[in-house]
Symmetry: C2
Subunit: 334 residues, 2 copies
Amino acid sequence: MTDTVTLSLAALQRLLEEILLRHGCSADVAACIAHNYAIAEQDGAKSHGVFRLPAIVSTLKSGWLDGKAVPSVDDVSPGLVRVDARNGFTQPALAAGRALLLEKAKTCGIAAIAIRNSHHFGALWPDVEPFARDGLIALSVVNSMATVVPHGGTKPVYGTNPIAFATPREADDPLVFDQASSALANGDVQIAAREGHALPAGAGLDRYGNPTTDPQAVLDGGALLPFGGHKGSSIALMVEILCAGLTGGQFSFEVDWSEHEGALTPKTGQTIIVLDPERGASAPFRSRVEQLLTKLRAAGQERLPGDRRYANRRRAQLNGISLTRDEHEMLLAL
Amino acid sequence: MTDTVTLSLAALQRLLEEILLRHGCSADVAACIAHNYAIAEQDGAKSHGVFRLPAIVSTLKSGWLDGKAVPSVDDVSPGLVRVDARNGFTQPALAAGRALLLEKAKTCGIAAIAIRNSHHFGALWPDVEPFARDGLIALSVVNSMATVVPHGGTKPVYGTNPIAFATPREADDPLVFDQASSALANGDVQIAAREGHALPAGAGLDRYGNPTTDPQAVLDGGALLPFGGHKGSSIALMVEILCAGLTGGQFSFEVDWSEHEGALTPKTGQTIIVLDPERGASAPFRSRVEQLLTKLRAAGQERLPGDRRYANRRRAQLNGISLTRDEHEMLLAL
């Protein structure tokens, strides 16, 4: 195909890194963030891949986000790490606290990291999958900016507030899921608007609070709805409490970038809880997870969470990562 | 009204305690379980109140559940308590490990209790609300018996797998939610069958795997569906892994009471994670939670999770707990 450009993961990462360096990121931050978006693209998450770069550049230019921020890590108790991202991206803040978190999890059996003043604008699974590769169960939540109307309400309060969960398996890649607490993720709405697709029913409201399937109506002052009615809404509520209340970060509804034209990333918080599943269990954990997954397949669930992502990853590792020519030129222009 | 009998919480608890003692529970277990079902009835959770007593008695008679079990508590690491319920109810196992869990949470900032070989047959919020009254955030999950079909599958694998979450507030009762990962709880289906109500669409399948709104068709070899499609299904999966994989307990699909006629309680596991929200936070946690809840009300969400439960509780504290005459006679007959 002549309309695509194929890059290796390393090449895509270098290209993203150059863009981030050019727009005021430190070397450490650029490497960390370039890796994050390159693996999202590799794994087929188009809504969380290179598609996000123009918004990141625009945000860096606006002064809303500090691309050179050096996170400060506090060892507050035997099981708890706190990180002040100091108005930088969340991922370098997690990287800064990760070794201490792992040490605590090994010692205590359970530990958590609470990150504040942080901008999370990428996919959430890259934050949890590596913990599962280190033998831990990981549960992460992150809040964003108010785009989701609580069940029974009329105005947005919650972010899309994803939850990601990862667990080691016996002989395979970790089992990982990553899902918004909203019926759709913001990135999905942006992609639908760009490609002219309608949204599924029950996912969005227009600016007047009426149900709509038009992605542009959602983006133009409209809002998203939680998945699964009041239950998804309660999960979004829990995410806010864990990401802002617990961390000392901002609630989604407090994000105010009005002084920073072009800003598009949420300054909020993130919490990750990790557990050591082998600590004193009376049965080998990994083989027990396999038994459950085998049962799910026998019950007719053909695709487990993450299966498609791993298939995309393997394909990209063999054949490289395909970008459209437009995407590639957009990156080169940045 | 002549068709109701009104009891105080203490009187209802004494009545339930006598029933449990008569059917082979130890004094400790009877007191703990009587309290659990009496407060569920008090809080208006008819599906988790005295309605469950005949099934409990039937299970005790079957020999499937040991009403005299003495839980054994293991202090496995600085942040982790494990409890073997030794085939008894879950609630006394939690009670046995609770002081150690609180001590670990205060020391470490985060801690978890993993309970196995345990029968949880009651409401989940009574397990988490007391932690919030002690100033902690609590998240609990429990699995049950296979009645829920995974998204995309055709046979039940998951239990109704509820999640309960509780957090302290500034000046009010804790904020608590407790929700099944299925579209409906088993108790709701039983109540609907008894009272002849139809189920909402999208909640159940009949024994042939066809969608149904007939509660009896769900109970007669049918199954429930997860809430919110694949996202609710992934949450049910996480609950299985945390309640059985992590604890060393049984998956919902492994519950096999075929040798115990009359058995109706699941022997599985439960995990509770507690966090100390004031540990090193840069803002006072409880007032931050209030700010979020104020915002939710301003956005039009009139009822917060747990509001109805607290209203029922206050009414019962003033006026006593109303049972129908049938319910009261059923209890006296036991």
